[in-house]
Subunit: 99 residues, 2 copies
């Protein structure tokens, strides 16, 4: 059986003016996550339209939902992601539905 | 140069009680989209946690953002997706950020 993989989807509310500031903050947080157990990859998406509900959505792959939760609940992550707190986020671990 | 591809990310607010009803409605809409020009694939994700902001997030790949917009603004789609209107959605076309 294939190892269970977890997709973390995180949507960020960011204004057009804050784009560069957000990208710097996100990169710092992602650099921290890259070093944590179970991190596989991140794919940051930017909206192509003018006034999206979520300018950025990250689709991240982790070896398991526990790895994702452990990494993002660590004190190291709170420090690395401090600058992201300015942006309302909607985050959860997801699994692909077989339909 | 590779052809530009567009990722459509659509987040749905769905209660636990409405899960099955939503899945039926989503499948009907997706079956319509599958037949439209530029559709590449859909990957419906379901939250693994109890009270997510968005129980379902679809990550769809289209040949272009125009194809996605044309398909979802068609009268055929309005008909096929009528049962989805009960669920608040957040939809946009996205491009991956090189960071």
């Amino acid at each position: 059986m294939a190892e269970e993989q977890c997709t973390a989807i995180v949507a960020y509310e960011v204004t057009a003016e804050d784009r560069e500031k957000f990208l710097n903050a996100w990169k710092k947080a992602d650099d921290y996550l890259k070093e944590q157990p179970g991190y596989i990859n991140s794919s940051l998406h930017e909206a192509a339209s003018a006034n999206p509900d979520f300018r950025f959505v990250n689709v991240g792959c982790w070896a398991s939902a526990d790895d994702f939760r452990n990494a993002t609940q660590s004190s190291g992550f709170r420090e690395a992601s401090g600058s992201l707190e300015a942006y309302p986020i909607h985050a959860a671990a997801y699994e692909v539905v077989e339909i």
